[in-house]
C-alpha cells in the first residue's frame, strides 16, 4: 500500500460508508517514517492515533509512541490556538464585531467524536466586510501584527479574502472577509451567513460558527479549489457534514447558486466521494455526479485549478465578476499599482510587479 492510500484511509477512519482499507500489518520502519511525516504534515495524526488505539491501524510499540508524541505536539499547539481564538472573539465582541469561527477550531468541536481527532494550525474567523478594518485594528491592539500590508487602503474591506495576523508566540489569525481570493470570493455574499449560527463550547465559553449550510459551503469551497491537492482535513470535514444530513441540501445549493458556485460544490462533493471512497448514495452526490458546469463556471474555476492557476489569473478573472465599472477600475488599480509599503513587503519594485503579473497572465494563456 502506498503512503498516500494509507493517509486517505486514515482520513476516512470511523466515517460510515468508507470502503478504504488500512494495512493489516505494521509498516516497516522506513515506510512508517514516511507515513508519520505525512500524517503530521497533513494534520491527520489525531485520526491515526484513534485508529491505532482502537486496533484498526496495526503499529509497533515504538510506532505508537512516535504517533503519540506527534499528536501531543499538535494538541499543545491546539490549546494555544484556542486561547487565541477566545481572546480574539472576546475583543471583537467588545467592539460590536460579530465573528464566526471557521475551519479547524470550530470543526474540531462541532463535527468530531473528540476535538483531539481534528488537528488545526491557526485561527480562522469570518467577519463582515464593513467590520474588516476595525477587526484588524482590534487584533493589532491585542499584539498581533499583519504579515503583509494591504495592496491599497480599503482593499481588504472591499475585495480581499483575508488578512493574516501573527502574535509574538507565532499564533496566526486569518481574518476572513470571504472564503476564497479571486472571483468566487467576490461573488459570495457573506451577509446571509451571519443570519444564524451553530455554537460550540470551548473552555466553558460559547463560540459561534456558521450554521450547517454555511459550514458545508465553506468546506466545499476549500475542497474544490482551496488547494491543488485537497487537504484531507477539509475533505473529512465536508464528509462529516454531508453524511450527517442525508437529505435537505436545498439551502446549501441555494447559497451556492447565489454565489455562482454550484460547479464548485459539485466538484467538492465528487472529490470527497472519490477520495474517501464513500459507498452511501445521497441525493447531493447523485446531484453532483450529474451536474454539468456552464461555460462561465468553467471559466471562473480556471484560475483556481489547472494550468492557469495563479494570483494574476485570479486577479484578472475577478474583473469578470465585479459589478460596476468603478469597482473594476479600483480593483485593477490596486492590483496593478499596489502601495509602496505592500511592494516593500514583497521585495518588489512597481515595474517588476507589473512585469511579473503580465508574464503570469500570458503564461496562463
Amino acid at each position: 500500500m502506498s503512503s498516500s492510500s494509507i493517509l486517505w484511509a486514515i482520513s476516512a477512519y470511523g466515517l460510515p460508508g468508507s470502503r478504504l482499507e488500512l494495512p493489516t500489518q505494521p509498516l516497516k520502519d522506513r515506510a512508517w517514517r514516511g507515513l508519520l511525516f505525512e500524517l503530521d504534515r497533513r494534520r491527520v495524526v489525531g485520526l491515526a492515533l484513534r485508529a491505532a488505539l482502537e486496533g484498526a491501524l496495526p503499529v509497533t510499540a515504538p510506532q505508537i509512541r512516535q504517533l503519540a508524541e506527534a499528536h501531543n505536539g499538535a494538541m499543545i499547539w491546539a490549546l494555544r490556538i484556542e486561547r487565541a481564538l477566545l481572546q480574539a472573539i472576546e475583543r471583537l465582541e467588545d467592539v460590536g464585531v460579530d465573528a464566526r469561527a471557521l475551519k479547524g477550531t470550530f470543526a474540531a468541536h462541532a463535527l468530531y467524536a473528540s476535538p483531539s481527532d481534528r488537528i488545526f494550525g491557526d485561527v480562522d474567523l469570518l467577519v463582515r466586510s464593513e467590520d474588516m478594518d476595525l477587526a484588524v485594528a482590534e487584533l493589532q491592539a491585542l499584539g498581533y501584527e499583519r504579515l503583509f500590508p494591504q495592496l491599497r487602503r480599503g482593499f481588504d474591506r472591499r475585495y480581499g479574502k483575508a488578512v493574516t495576523l501573527q502574535s509574538e508566540e507565532g499564533v496566526q489569525i486569518d481574518l476572513h472577509r470571504t472564503f476564497l481570493m479571486g472571483p468566487h470570493g467576490l461573488l459570495l455574499d457573506t451577509e446571509p451567513l451571519f443570519a444564524s449560527a451553530q455554537e460550540v463550547t470551548i473552555g466553558g465559553r460559547q463560540v459561534k460558527g456558521l450554521d450547517w449550510d454555511g459550514q458545508a459551503l465553506h468546506a466545499a469551497f476549500t475542497v474544490a479549489v482551496g488547494d491543488l491537492t485537497p487537504k484531507p482535513t477539509a475533505v473529512r470535514d465536508l464528509a462529516e457534514l454531508l453524511l450527517r444530513r442525508m437529505d435537505g441540501h436545498e439551502a446549501l445549493l441555494e447559497l451556492a447558486e447565489r454565489a455562482e458556485a454550484l460547479a464548485l460544490v459539485a466538484r467538492a462533493v465528487n472529490l470527497t466521494w472519490r477520495l474517501l471512497d464513500l459507498a452511501d448514495i445521497l441525493p447531493i452526490n447523485r446531484w453532483a455526479q450529474r451536474y454539468e458546469p456552464s461555460r462561465r463556471e468553467l471559466t471562473l474555476m480556471r484560475s483556481y485549478i489547472g494550468r492557469r492557476r495563479s494570483y494574476a489569473a485570479k486577479a484578472f478573472d475577478s474583473l469578470r465578476v465585479l459589478p460596476t465599472t468603478r469597482d473594476r477600475l479600483a480593483y485593477l488599480w490596486a492590483v496593478a499599482m499596489p502601495d509602496r509599503s505592500f511592494l516593500r513587503g514583497q521585495k518588489e519594485t512597481p515595474l517588476h510587479w507589473l512585469q511579473r503579473g503580465s508574464r503570469a497572465l500570458v503564461r496562463g494563456g
Partner: protein
C-alpha cells in the same frame, strides 16, 4: 464535605496517556498522567472525591485505598495549577 469543580475557562485535550490543560492567566501547559486524565474526565459530572475515586477504581481496576490516594493527589495537583477549585459544603 469538599466539592471539586473545574475552574472556568480551562482549555484541555486528551492525548494517548495524558490530559493537557491550559489554565487562564498561565503560560505553561500542565500535563497530567492517566489518573489525572481520568479525574479530569470524571469532573465533567462529579464533584465529590469519593465518587471520583470509585470511577478511577473501576477504570483502572485498582484497590480502594490506592484509588483514594491517587485521586486526592490528582485533585491537589489540579488545584495547585488552577485547573480545579474546591469549596467546603
Amino acid at each position: 464535605m469538599t466539592r471539586w469543580v473545574r475552574a472556568p475557562g480551562v482549555l484541555w485535550r486528551e492525548t494517548f496517556d495524558q490530559v493537557l490543560l491550559l489554565v487562564p492567566g498561565r503560560e505553561e501547559i500542565v500535563a497530567g498522567n492517566l489518573c489525572t486524565a481520568a479525574v479530569w474526565d470524571a469532573l465533567s459530572d462529579l464533584d465529590d472525591a469519593d465518587a471520583i475515586a470509585r470511577v478511577v477504581r473501576e477504570t483502572f481496576d485498582i484497590d480502594a485505598e490506592a484509588a483514594d490516594q491517587d485521586v486526592l493527589e490528582a485533585l491537589q495537583q489540579l488545584r495547585e495549577c488552577g485547573a480545579v477549585v474546591s469549596h467546603e459544603q
